[in-house]
Symmetry: D2
């Protein structure tokens, strides 16, 4: 790893935004109630409710995404139910069986560009109930999707409205994983607001870890009647911090003055610049990204040169190329983007 | 709540020790690998191994105690086994069924002053196997105790050696919950070192949340062969942080220059002063505490006066008195102790 | 084991009542629908509903008690809840962690003669909610008791009415384990009918295995709205037989002409005779039994003589005596009782 | 449903083979030890060990397939592991989440004619470990397949040897579901003996419910060191019968004089006759079956005529036809086959 290594491997490479750190220092010695009932957490809950235009929502803070997904899903489902998810969904592949640990099956549905369509849900549910033997199978109990998706794509408002409508028709709670939500909100392509998410889902979460905090995710329960005694379900899953203030203070900062809405802007602009540069230099994008992740086909001959200089994530191995993911974040600096573009220009894909 | 309210309600009231916060700021913008494989975590693992004189141990960081207990216990037990614990043990009362969520029964044993004796374990196990029908019951699979205990008492080295010996005889892994371990290590009454813990247990954890960090607990696996693929079990339980650095940096600080060994000293001295003062003013202690928690019987007539001025935890309701817990911490300041003692002197128990 | 060994070890020693076997033979080659939807099962459901005077009840057949208890409890509870049970309850001791496998804690309450009082439930629940920290603990979610109890005692109608009332007040479903229910119904001391059970509980089960069938227990859900999609929960727990007819046919026989109400009579009469004989010969009963189990203190010097001649279950080891259980059943023959009484008379306790 | 309705809907339509019933009657009043330790069960274990040429195997009886699969899989896997299965495997589709209830993920692999190839397992495992992030995913912990498969096909000895070898190379226990094993053993196309199954697997089960008993499946653990305290795991899962004799007596009959080896012969011959007749009358088979299940494409126009006269299972709905399953069994009588063939001849597919 050389001095001038270029870090684009993930969006959790650095600590927290300085505004967050400064506030943690400022309030460090204030005595605070435990378990999320301190005044900073309470104020953060209020700010989030306001940002979501959903005054009746309840808000809870978690430390990470796997725990959030596992806890919400376990709390929503009854024993005979499973969770419908796109086959590329995080809970279906990279969570080590966290959903199954809670006793539930993930029911993977075909997806397109990481997204699940309303039609796919409708078809699956209709086929399920049409099967005379469906009582021997796991019932559909809820729907899980991500915004942005694991592939960096976005649901449009129209797509989400349709998905929400089909979920409500079938009485399936809709839960959205927003681990990278700041990069959706900051995308010029996005037309889905926090208020839309609150209106169209039953539960969703607003990612902090990948969006500027040291750690933390904020679960917004827009339909609280579905999740009685949710605090105790969290506790049972080990998802409650004694010093809940640590999360409360951070989200308080993130939701003051609409900070969360803008923190992802440079990252999204950076992926546009990087993609322009890749294309200009003969690289093939898997798909044009509108958020903070770029998926590009790296010719195999260039792998040694790239890996020597650029930190990236390997996504898929093919015969002649490797699909790699380059990720920007709130912490990405303009000079890093410039350096990456210079590197790309020096090593074009065509030869 | 008045300006000069006295906070003795818990040991997680304030943020982190300033040394911890400063280091978090210092390294904030260093890019770091995720999931506990960054250089700060790696160095912290080394420092902990050294402090425990246990070079072959593996170390993992968790965010909180419930999750730590649930994950370690789930990873150690087979389906037909349960965990033996003192009936006052945290996992038996205040963890909302976290152990049962993993499919295992907590088998509560009689305890004395919050402690489980070697003899009690021996008797239970002998009785279990003597029952001709024991194959219809949950097998003993491991032993869980806390140091200090939930009642603020300490196992002596001799007691722990005996407990460890009986566990090894019966091939029951011994797991020690050290949520408040700094206050044991700082107690003049203590004769159990970190190295003793590593030597006598199979797994134990070193508390951070209540001992000076923003959050975090360090699990030390002194017998790693018992816990293959423990990282994946952690991940499955939602116990892995993407930004593992947040925990690594904090424990790095705590284990530099033996800091963890001394951080609890003022808190332990403070409980001595408070207890002296209580006794001198006619209050009856449940038991003389040697760590950072004081349990005292508060006559019912004094409850309104105390609750107006002092934050404490209500432990048990009796006819004429209330058992309350006063807790000191690394963050307790001398003037707070002085103020509390002044208050006690003004409101003696006898009148 | 000699030719004239006397079998009083359990109530599952022999096969099925001849009426049951004959019917199984009679219908053996009739083709029948699977999974409990055959005509014999349907008729048995009806007969049971009639016997319980509960036309809206749903009925399901299980193969054994552990599975029944585990499935009903898992279906009734939400993740944050546990089941209140007398500390002597079967689910707390001899079911190998079956309830915990479903993710739930058994919350043992003090019992008297194997019974749980309405007051004990009221006190526990009141204390639970009075604890300011109760959100960190397992919530009470239902109540489990047995009729007859594991100690052979009976709840009176008044006791059951009180227990039911306190459960309804606190919205805790009441579930009664009737593994030996035929011996309650046949007891002159009993004043609780099947209709009372249906009226006062939300779910209860009628034991077959110990009461005359080859195997099988009938779950009566008097409050079906609590258990949606119960068939699928059963299937998930492996509790559904492909050839459901095997259970349906047997319960059809048991509930024709009130047969279940009378099948236990000889067994109950036999325990009275045996107890009279024991007392007359100086033996000390633990308690006078009114159903089909006798608990008696066997002086240690008599153990070799008894064990040579009588099959019994060892219940508890004391200094000078052993508590043993003698069990009668629908299959006990008068000459066996006579032989046992002769043996007792030849070996009186006093000498 | 007319008098002369033709039952080919499943292989669990009738009771038990008369030899089984007669023995149950014969031994009905013999007192027997409980929970599978009676003399009939012990003898059945011996007969099965002999039939499998595997003297060190342990044998356990279960009541049904879902419970058997769930219990064996739960006992074999550690928390971080899942079970590899063909995507058409019973545990992946029709067991209502029974595997997930135990906390484990089913990892579906592509299959061909219901079978999993050694190569498919090898590829999956290699790809899994090649993924640098595999520690975030469920580990492969065992392999599950069925003989015959859910589609009526058979693994050849060569295929099974290859599958077993790849499992052993990767230390993945191999478990075979033999719910319909009698129909494999009776097939002229079969070259896999019970001894082969014992030699090549770690655990497999011999189906009773669909092969002549009232109920029951016999688990053969050819590698007992993998499953310590298996009885208690069974008990925990509610899979132990108090009157274990009910299963022991039936399997004793099934394994006397090689009865299990031959009981499926007529059923297999019948499927040949039915397939010949179908083909002769213009029907298209999905695949030529060599066991007791026939899968045939029924033109939609013929559905009303067929369903009026023949009980069958609907397998799949297509545009112009319906795939239906016709099943024969030990209980199928020659005249039923003749009647079905007559019906087919009267209603040919071409018109």
């Amino acid at each position: 790893m050389t001095e001038d290594y270029l870090y684009f491997g993930s969006d959790y490479l650095e600590g927290a935004h300085e505004r967050v750190l400064e506030r943690l220092i400022e309030v460090n010695r204030q005595p605070a109630a435990g378990y999320g009932s301190d005044s900073h957490s309470e104020r953060a809950y209020d700010l989030i409710r306001q940002a979501c235009d959903c005054p009746h929502a309840t808000v809870h803070f978690f430390v990470g995404g796997t725990q959030t997904n596992a806890t919400v899903i376990r709390a929503l489902l009854r024993p005979y139910q499973g969770v419908l998810a796109p086959n590329t969904g995080h809970i279906n592949v990279h969570e080590a069986g966290a959903i199954e640990l809670g006793g539930h099956k993930v029911l993977p549905l075909p997806s397109h560009e990481g997204k699940l369509t309303a039609q796919a849900v409708e078809d699956w549910v209709t086929t399920f109930y049409a099967d005379a033997n469906h009582v021997h199978s796991v019932y559909p109990g809820m729907v899980y999707v991500s915004q942005p998706t694991e592939l960096g794509t976005l649901y449009s408002l129209a797509e989400l409205e349709a998905l929400s409508a089909v979920c409500r028709w079938h009485q399936l709670p809709l839960f959205i994983d927003g681990a990278r939500l700041a990069y959706a909100l900051a995308s010029p392509s996005n037309d889905v607001s926090l208020a839309d998410l609150a209106r169209l889902t039953d539960v969703f979460y607003i990612g902090g870890t990948k969006c500027g905090t040291l750690l933390g995710e904020a679960v917004v329960i827009s339909n609280p009647s579905l999740l009685p005694h949710f605090f105790t379900v969290m506790k049972q899953g080990g998802a409650v911090l004694a010093k809940g203030r640590v999360l409360g203070v951070q989200f308080e900062v993130m939701f003051e003055d609409g900070f969360y809405q803008v923190i992802g802007r440079e990252a999204v602009a950076a992926t546009q610049a990087i993609q322009d540069c890749l294309v200009a230099n003969g690289y093939e994008l898997v798909d044009r990204s509108v958020t903070n992740q770029v998926f590009v086909r790296l010719p195999k001959v260039l792998v040694p040169i790239w890996s020597d200089k650029v930190q990236y994530a390997t996504w898929e191995l093919a015969e002649d190329y490797v699909v790699v993911r380059l990720t920007t974040a709130w912490s990405t600096r303009p000079e890093q983007v410039t350096d990456l573009c210079d590197f790309i220009a020096q090593h074009p894909a065509q030869s």
